[in-house]
Amino acid sequence: MNSTLTSTKENTWGGGDSQPLGASYGKMMMWFFLVSDALTFSGFLAAYGFSRFKFIETWPIADEVFTHVPFTHGSYPMIYVALMTFILIMSSVTMVLAVDAGHKMQKNKVIWYMFLTVIGGAIFVGSQAWEWNTFIKGDNGAVETKGGRILQFVKADSGERAALRDFAIAIPGDRVAHENKNGIWFYDEGYRPSFSVNEVVKGFKANPNILVRTETINEEGHKTILSREESLRKLKSATQVVEGANLIHNEYGSRLFGDFFFFITGFHGFHVLSGVVINLIIFFNVVIGTYERRGHYEMVEKVGLYWHFVDLVWVFVFTFFYLV
């Protein structure tokens, strides 16, 4: 290159070693990857918006879905997600401090900050796993109607949600469990809800304090609560009991809500997980002195970009899934 081109200006246009955008090749490629990844996430969030606008009158209210905090009982909407957000921002800060220490070639500081970043990321992934677990297990239970809509239950006097286990009445039946030794083809029974539809309906009839709550959001922004008679009429179309959530049914309302929850937070959680793994690799590289010998800590900066991006995406997921 240098033999054919004389001035540095020509070198720039000739694709030489100079950097017209002031960024090294690796850093630029990390940025371009992040831009494309940002577009992927935008596609998911836009699809979420699409489904939500389509079912705008019946979409679940996030405040009523995510109300749990580990090691406590009771309803604390948003608190835990806010804490998770803070943890992720905090680990973003330790990451940027690691990058800063890298610029100054302070190896020990980089090691410590990278370590804290990894810990923060691990706590976040753990929290997300806990969130998933709580979401899948469910809380109060509900019944699903013929039309695929969800009917939840509330206490008439307090307006609080009523769990199925609070009012459903067990009907003794002669159901015999199918066992391995009795069948030629044996299928495991799989998951069964704790109550049958009949048991829920019987409990509902016996307890005048229970009302049905539909998915429809009324003028005040609350879910519509039916009268006793309407409730009974609605319950006639109930086909199955739903407890918790999977990809096909969920007790919180619109089925798509559960699907998007798993898909978007899962995709983000996978990013965090891979971010933790990449951070760990770089952490060990710093420990064994790879970048000290190389003379610069640009690799730390590159994984830093990825890590901040994960934080950036979470800020949007937080807003569109939990707040708006």
Binding site: L21, V35, I79, I89, V96, R149, E298, D311
Partner: protein, 127 residues
Amino acid sequence: MAHEHKLEIFRGLLKFKNNTQKIWGVLIFLSLVTAVEVILGIIKPESLTDSYFLGMKLLNWIFIILTLVKAYYIAWDFMHLRDEKSAFRRSLVWTPIFLVIYLTFILLTEADYIYEVYKDGFITWNF
């Protein structure tokens, strides 16, 4: 690699002594914004949920704007976009912004149309 950092945020209103201080300053700012979001999300003041702008609740506009503010400071200060050359920065920022606005506009318009069809059509969807 260039090690100079631009140390002022809020258009020069606040200037930090060194990069480490700026990082902590930005953290405090981001935490404040998150706290405001969460508090608004829990209280849901009626004055904000009752008033609409362009078909969306004022509260949701506030959430989205605060999110964009947070995103700006994460990208500009944590990801050092502030220190990059403007050509590089613009190529990274405006490309997704343009595409996302385009996609969101189309999908949300279409979704609203489908909502109307479900609502006013002659087929019942909730039986």
